[in-house]
């Protein structure tokens, strides 16, 4: 595999930044109570993964919840998107609400969710879902908007039923733009679930970070932070790569 010049520069830039941080921490310009050196974060994370008895339970708890939230928000967002797209009047009225959705801190509804679902996985999944669903919904709307009109005409000429139109026309033709929504829904589910764990929860990675902070346990805190950040960076890069490939194929075909 050939690595592009841009990727090389990017890796160099990140390494330079990490090295600078390491130097600042080692020389004491950044105090060890504020931040531990990056190399120590890696060691701390390895030690946690290998030795901490809570690690795998908490990790599995978080992963399970965010997978559930991602699936729920993708399916719900797609279904709502189809429904709202079919009702133009409804859509026109709803659009300003949808557009300002992400400027309201959804997390303030979390205590209410806790009251309804109890402290536990269900309220975390619900928080992740209500945070992520609107991104999927909006992407579904744009994705269907961008299907060329001709495709629907062909569907009508070949007398497809509405269900057949959905499966054979709407879904494949809208796939690349739908995937943008999937990408956002996954990332937002991660943010929602971990944020929820951070605020009120009995287990999970977010809970561990909050615990460690309250206990002044910087090694655990930075180790887990490193884990969260690496997880999101890898996930983001993988989804972005997939999205680029889908879009390229789509551009070639049309």
């Amino acid at each position: 595999m050939r690595i592009s010049r841009a990727s090389l520069f990017r890796i160099a830039l990140v390494l330079l930044f990490v090295a600078a941080l390491e130097a600042l921490c080692r020389t004491g310009i950044i105090g060890c109570l504020t931040m531990i050196p990056p190399s120590e974060m890696v060691l701390a994370l390895i030690a946690i993964v290998l030795h901490a008895d809570w690690f795998w339970t908490d990790f599995a708890y978080t992963v399970r919840n965010l997978v559930a939230a991602a699936i729920a928000s993708i399916l719900l967002g797609y279904a709502l998107g189809l429904l709202i797209h079919a009702m133009p009047r409804m859509r026109r009225a709803l659009e300003p609400v949808l557009l300002s959705y992400y400027s309201v801190p959804t997390f303030v509804f979390y205590p209410l969710l806790v009251v309804v679902f109890g402290i536990g996985p269900l309220s975390l999944i619900a928080l992740g879902t209500i945070f992520a669903v609107v991104a999927m919904l909006m992407s579904t709307l744009t994705a269907i908007d961008r299907i060329p009109r001709g495709m629907f005409k062909v569907a009508r000429i070949t007398r497809l039923t509405p269900l057949q139109t959905l499966v054979h026309v709407k879904l494949p033709a809208a796939a690349p733009h739908l995937f943008t929504g999937v990408k956002l829904a996954v990332i937002y589910s991660v943010i929602g679930v971990i944020a929820g764990e951070f605020i009120i929860s009995t287990a999970g990675i977010g809970r561990r970070i909050a615990f460690a902070y309250n206990d002044f346990d910087n090694r655990t805190m930075y180790g887990m932070l490193l884990l969260v950040i690496s997880l999101v960076v890898v996930l983001n890069a993988a989804l972005q790569g997939l999205e680029n490939r889908l879009h390229r194929r789509w551009v070639r075909r049309t």
Binding site: S4, M90, S100, V104, P105, I209, V228
Partner: protein, 244 residues
Amino acid sequence: MNRRTLDPLLLIVAAIALWQVLFVVAGPDAIASPLATLQRLITLGQDPRFWMNAGATLAAFGYACVLSIAIGLPLGVAVGAHKLARDVSEPILSAFYSIPKITLYPVILLIFGLGLSAKVAFGVIHGVFPIALFAIGAIRNLSPSLLRTARVLHLSPRQTATSVLAPAALPEILTGLRIGVSAALLGTIIGELFASSQGLGFMLIRAMENHQVADIMAVTLFLFLIAGIANAGLLAIERRLQWK
């Protein structure tokens, strides 16, 4: 009354009805009824402490906005204008955008301590990345023929920037500003949830701890209205610029 004004009204009525149904199903322990929320909001509105808190949030939000724009916009424009710089930094910026920044709160607190600067920093780390990313996108999506035309007309670099590039990139940059400003508000409120003894976010966390459901709902409604109005205004400006 025509459909343009009627439909949003119908939607508001439907939303309030849905809220009332939820209230009946979930009970007063979970959510407050629309009427109780409104009454609470009106009582809060007469309390000078509420406005003091709103003012504290507004001040932090103002600083966060100014800093997000002052850092994000030049960064995005400078990086967007250069292909290699763009290819190098766009994935890094988008990765930062997707980190659950709430988990960085201990780090922010350790660096800035409790108080205004931590809140502002929280707002900025939420707001700066969308602004920069949209500015990069705006510059990238400029049609190359615009630059060629500018060259044919012998425009100076400054004339090119002000009379060709800026108007062409403006709509998308504005979208970024709208999303960035929204994110900065979200960040400021989240910052106040943890790192403050003042502000609407602080009111929220205190209401959460004491389980004052009506207070949570009233403050949330207030935020939703403010964010909605600000967003609608910015959206209207955006639409008008796209029309031209």
